[in-house]
């Protein structure tokens, strides 16, 4: 019981730090790093739930595999977009990305 709560607490802390990072940074790459930290926290929670509540059902581990895949894909597409923006504007600062702002 204590072990489960320790793992969930770590996941919660990582989620909070990732949320702070994703909201406070101005650069696209740093925002993506915040999202990575958040997803890491989510994965810790998932594995803790699998191990301590339902270790016989492996769809928990399958969920973690899907989250890892999403992490990799989000980084790939994000860097593609970042490359494209860097080529057209010269920086990836999100403060300057106000073209669509009403």
């Amino acid at each position: 019981m204590i072990t489960l709560v320790v793992a969930l607490a770590v996941g919660a802390a990582l989620f909070g730090i990732g949320l702070y990072g994703a909201l406070s940074q101005t650069n696209l790459v740093m925002i993506m790093m915040g999202v990575e930290v958040m997803l890491g926290g989510a994965m810790v929670n998932l594995v803790a739930f699998w191990r301590f509540l339902h270790p016989e059902v492996f769809s928990g581990q399958m969920f973690v595999l899907v989250v890892m895949t999403v992490m990799a894909l989000e980084m790939a597409v994000g860097f593609g977009i970042g490359t494209s923006r860097f080529r057209s504007v010269g920086s990836v600062e999100m403060e300057e990305a106000r073209e669509l702002k009403g």
């Binding site: 793992a7 802390a13 406070s24 790459v29 890491g40 895949t69 894909l73 597409v77 860097f86």
Partner: protein
């Protein structure tokens, strides 16, 4: 509280604190490469937590994937950011108060749920490591086959999308010059 549970809790707490500390370093340091490598070690600590929770395949996979991903992130940071060495001490944040409040609220909400929810009976042991790899493979191939296939198609789509986004500008320019 058996010796095994005590050890497990200790290692979880140790690696968890390491993961949290490295994640804090990611956003507090002004050197970009240090930031990327701190994220790498944070994810490695998360992978070590998986190993402590006896999910061996996931732990090894996490450690392997994140090392490669974060090193690639390091080179992208050096390419795209203004001050990769961090010697200029620029403050690259905005809406600091809002994001601090949001982070704290998110973490506290998750902590409250973690402490006060009734999780039910805690399982004593997990299948052995050798058995787990086999069972995970069977799970992927039998029940979660559709999810796995969808993930495969998603990976292909993302690869094509990323490549197309990254090379799109050149094609437009060439077509413009050809007219």
């Amino acid at each position: 509280m058996t010796v095994q549970t005590v050890l497990q809790t200790f290692f979880l707490a140790f690696f968890g604190l390491a993961a949290i500390w490295f994640a804090v370093v990611v956003f507090r340091t002004s050197s970009m490469v240090r930031s990327a490598l701190a994220l790498l070690f944070s994810q490695t600590a998360i992978g070590a937590m998986f190993l402590a929770m006896q999910a061996e395949f996931l732990g090894v996979l996490q450690i392997m994937m994140m090392a490669t991903e974060m090193a690639i992130m390091a080179i992208f940071m050096v390419m795209y950011m203004m001050d990769p060495g961090g010697l200029g001490e620029m403050d690259m944040t905005h809406q600091k108060r809002l994001s601090q409040v949001a982070g704290v609220v998110g973490a506290v909400a998750a902590l409250v749920v973690a402490f006060f929810a009734g999780w039910g009976p805690v399982a004593g042991s997990a299948p052995g490591a050798f058995e787990q790899t086999r069972l995970l493979g069977l799970e992927i191939m039998e029940r979660s086959m559709l999810i796995f296939e969808t993930a495969g198609v998603t990976i292909l789509t993302a690869m094509i999308a990323a490549t197309a986004t990254a090379i799109a500008v050149r094609e437009v320019r060439k077509r413009g010059e050809g007219e």
